[in-house]
């Protein structure tokens, strides 16, 4: 029994039954499939998270955000600047207590280099209803190249707890045709 010492002293020399052996092989093979599926998706899939990262500081990153707003601001929404960068541009978005800043406007089907960082605490970039979720750290600048393939209004929810106002922290991305 499992609560007593094995009755066979040389338990490691006992034969393996076919049923167990087959299951071990099936399970091992399935593990390989799942492992290589991730690698395959890097080659063939369209949704892979970039690993391009730079060290930064809150001040340095915020200066880039402000510069971009100065250059490409087109209007305001709910009192926040809306920025419409040209396709392919470097776009900066910062998470802070408790806003994703600024509002961005993209063109459907175009790619943008989206730089994410945080000013104060960790925040969670959760783009809804698309459902893309990326962790955002202060001090790190993470660059993703995204290609919106739907038009409409999208919301960024903060999904990393960031203090008492966490549940009010939103941002917007508009995608035009």
């Amino acid at each position: 029994m499992a609560i007593t010492s094995p009755s066979e002293r040389l338990w490691w020399k006992t034969p393996l039954h076919r049923v167990e052996l087959i299951w071990i092989l099936v399970a091992f093979f399935w593990g390989l499939v799942m492992f290589f599926m991730m690698i395959y998706w890097h080659a063939a899939g369209s949704q892979n998270l970039s690993t391009e990262t730079y060290k930064t500081t809150p001040n340095e990153f915020y200066a880039k955000v402000e510069a971009m707003i100065g250059e490409h601001k087109v209007r305001e929404a709910e009192g926040q600047p809306v920025v419409r960068p040209p396709p392919g541009a470097d776009v900066y978005m910062v998470g802070r207590m408790w806003l994703w800043y600024p509002v961005l406007e993209f063109e459907k089907g175009q790619s943008y280099r989206l730089h994410l960082s945080a000013l104060d605490l960790q925040h969670g970039f959760s783009l809804q209803p698309v459902n893309i979720n990326v962790q955002v750290h202060p001090g790190y600048e993470h660059v993703l190249t995204i290609t919106p393939d739907q038009s409409g209004e999208f919301t960024i929810v903060c999904n990393e707890f960031c203090g008492l106002g966490h549940h009010t922290m939103l941002g917007k991305i508009f995608v035009t045709e």
Binding site: M1, A2, I3, T4, S5, P6, S7, E8, R9, W11, W12, T14, P15, L16, H17, V19, E20, W23, V26, A27, W30, G31, L32, M34, F35, I39, H42, G45, Q47, N48, L49, T51, Q80, L121, Q122, Q128, V130, N131, I132, N133, Q135, H137, P138, G139, Y140, E141, H142, Q150, T155, V157, N159, F161, G165, H166, H167, T168, M169, L170, G171, K172
Partner: protein, 560 residues
């Protein structure tokens, strides 16, 4: 060496060190107390997330969520695991416990640490969530309490290893240690890794909170913290798998199909489970994809392989034993005629099934590098781990309690009818919690979030209506789970304090008939077609669900 006092258990014939027994009792009682407190916090969280109820104000919600994680995920589980370690070493090996006095020191440190951290949370200055990610800072005694707790638990692991050494020296058993002890040893080895990681990260973080260290890198913190946070869940897995084996051995006289295979599977845990810190870092900046792929898959899913093996060998061992008893008809007579009214069995079997189907599959899918993009920090995450830690570990711990109370506390179970229904009420409640949180997470709903209507936010936004339904159902099932938890606590407390004293042999509800001890080795007697069928169903569900999620992923915006 001082002579230890023993009693001989009239039911099992085991020699029980009274000092070990007292420590098992103390740790188990502390565990149950923290389960009760943490469970209530959990219920209040679920009722707040139910949009129609929205019980707590925001500050209390975040406080309750922090306390819930701390009290059940850490204190209930680790205290109970310490009881399991003492049981699996001293009791199962017929041995005296190494340094019992130190065992009380460990218990005292853990209790003091747990209380200090609880106080810091209740004071309202440490609502930083269980994970306490910097640069968010908690009160200093939040970290201090955790450090004391970890040191205490580390000492208890040392006592476990010491007891193994003594048992070997004093030849209290012949041959190899029992499989259950081997599983407990796996848990203890992982615990040492885990608690050491905890100390490595919490000590500097504590120094940071008192102003000695100027900066804690948030990414480095997460990497090391999760070497504690995730690996400690692997202590749970090892411990509850050991408990599954223990329960089927006690109730059915079941032998492992193959000692070699089962022990090999535990070895996979020791070798590979620690890599799982990566599961929490799949959408972080600054880490390479190679690192993520290798670590998140436990080096090609070798630890998952361990769990898949246990998934066959635990029900398989039970089936083989039942068939030997004569329940040999058809595919499932062995299962139909199992003692479903015995909470030790029903709790264990529900734990096994739900750990696999709910917690296991979702964990592997969510831990896939790219699929994590559509799940990270959504309610899918707590949905998954309520499937593992609550439906799996907690239910298994509850199940073995129904054996520990008569065998160790030597009291009869009070309110047997309540006890009989308890695993079902709790199990179905938790299954609902797990499923509906995963459902809401699939719809994108954030975890750790007070208001999914975003009433005070600067922009308009709402999750889809189905998410509101999911969270309502989650609340209803949370009430059911809380009821099941309450039944458990009622039965345990009433039995321990007012149950009839057990004299002589205990009826632990094992099925009648001679013990099903076959000659050793799996090759001659093995016939487990029912288990094969169950495993087949599981495997098909796993494969389908895995690829469905790749399909979901392929629908989101292209990114690189």
């Amino acid at each position: 060496m001082s002579a230890s006092l023993f009693r001989t258990c009239p039911t099992t014939g085991l020699k029980v060190d009274l000092q070990a027994e007292a420590l098992i009792k103390a740790n188990a009682v502390a565990a149950v107390v923290f389960l009760a407190i943490g469970g209530l916090f959990g219920l209040s969280v679920a009722l707040t997330r139910w949009p129609a109820v929205h019980l707590l104000p925001a500050d209390w919600f975040y406080l309750a969520l922090t306390a819930h994680g701390l009290d059940v995920l850490l204190l209930w589980i680790i205290f109970f695991e310490m009881a399991v370690l003492y049981f699996a070493s001293a009791v199962l090996l017929n041995c005296r416990l190494a340094t019992p006095k130190l065992g009380w020191v460990a218990f005292g440190l853990m209790l003091a640490g747990g209380l200090i951290t609880n106080v810091s949370v209740l004071q309202g200055q440490s609502s930083v969530m269980f994970t306490s990610y910097p640069p968010m800072m908690a009160a200093q005694h939040f970290y201090l309490g955790l450090i004391l707790f970890a040191v205490g638990a580390l000492i208890a692991c040392g006592i476990f290893f010491g007891t193994l050494v003594i048992a070997r020296e004093e030849k209290t058993y012949t041959g190899s240690i029992p499989l259950v002890t081997f599983g407990a040893m796996t848990a203890a080895i992982i615990a040492v890794f885990t608690l050491a990681s905890g100390a490595i990260i919490l000590i500097p973080t504590w120094l940071w909170s008192i102003g000695v260290v100027s900066n804690i890198d948030p990414l480095m913190y997460k990497l090391v913290w999760w070497a504690m946070g995730h690996s400690s869940q692997q202590i749970n897995v090892s411990a509850h798998v050991a408990i599954w084996y223990a329960i089927i051995a006690i109730l059915f006289g079941a032998k492992p199909l193959s000692e070699k295979v089962s022990r090999g599977a535990f070895l996979m845990y020791i070798l590979f489970l620690q890599l799982a810190s990566a599961h929490h870092l799949l959408v972080e900046p600054g880490l390479s994809s190679e690192w993520k792929v290798f670590n998140t898959s436990y080096a090609m899913y070798l630890a998952v392989l361990g769990s898949l093996i246990h998934g066959l060998s635990v029900p398989g061992a039970m089936e083989a034993a039942q068939r030997k008893r004569g329940f040999d008809k058809g595919l499932f007579e062995w299962l139909r005629k199992a003692p479903w009214g015995n909470p030790a069995f029903s709790g264990m079997f529900l734990s096994l099934v739900m750990f696999g189907f709910l917690g296991g599959i979702s964990g592997v899918v969510m831990g896939t590098e790219q699929i994590n993009i559509i799940m990270h920090n959504t309610l899918y995450v707590p949905g998954h781990f309520h499937g593992t830690v609550v439906a799996g570990t907690t239910l298994a711990f509850m199940a073995i309690t129904y054996l520990l109370v008569p065998l160790i506390f030597r009291r009869e179970i009070r309110f047997p009818t309540l006890a009989k229904w308890q695993p079902y009420v709790f199990g179905i409640g938790v299954a609902g919690i797990s499923l509906f949180m995963m459902g809401a997470g699939t719809l994108g709903v954030s975890r750790r979030h007070w208001d999914i209507t975003f009433a005070d936010a600067p922009f308009d936004f709402s999750y889809p209506p189905a998410a509101f339904l999911m969270l309502g159902l989650n609340g209803i099932f949370a009430i059911m789970a809380a009821l099941g938890g309450l039944m458990y606590i009622l039965v345990v407390v009433a039995s321990v304090f007012t149950g009839k004293k057990v004299e002589g042999k205990v009826d632990i509800g094992a099925p009648a008939g001679p013990p099903a001890v076959a000659s050793y080795g799996s090759s001659e007697t093995l016939r487990v077609p029912g288990t094969l069928m169950l495993v087949g169903v599981f495997f098909v569900a796993f494969v389908l669900y895995y690829f469905v999620n790749w399909k979901y992923l392929s629908d989101v915006w292209p990114m690189r």
